[in-house]
Subunit: 92 residues, 2 copies
């Protein structure tokens, strides 16, 4: 699967990401990956739920994966930080 079908969730309003998902599906994507880490994980679930329930009822959640990423220390000699991640695959 092409990584160009990934929607990375950050700090923008939910509807920005919902629109990104809808645009990808309308552009012919069969599958898209909604990815987030840290506090944005809750927002990723909101985005997927709004897409499915309000806009594209035919879209199904195909797979949900969670994991941990290690971030480099912010300052020299600091210890690395772990951050949780989620990846939700949607398919139509």
């Amino acid at each position: 699967m092409s990584e160009s079908n990934a929607v990375l969730i950050g700090r923008k309003p939910v509807m920005n990401y919902v629109l990104a998902c809808i645009t990808l599906f309308h552009g012919g994507a069969k599958e898209i990956n909604v990815k987030a880490r840290g506090r944005a994980i809750s927002l990723a679930v909101d985005v997927v739920e709004v897409v499915r329930r309000r806009f594209l009822p035919d879209v199904k959640v195909k797979k949900i994966g969670i994991g941990t990423e290690q971030l480099a220390p912010r300052e020299e000699g600091g210890s690395p930080t772990n951050v949780s991640t989620i990846e939700i695959t949607l398919a139509q």
Copy 2:
């Protein structure tokens, strides 16, 4: 599966919920459900990742489900609010 094996994630520190999971598994539970809604969803993923990576490497993520719950309006005549939910099933 008995609902007594559910861990509901709220606003306490991550380690409180990690300890709750470990206690259930040590008490003989084969499966537990980590549940959260709204902003606590990120915390639920953190809890599961800490349990698996730091404490119980034999525990696997068996299933992850997401959904939406409708909350009653806070004041009379208000409109109901939707909140996203997650349920992560862990098995050992």
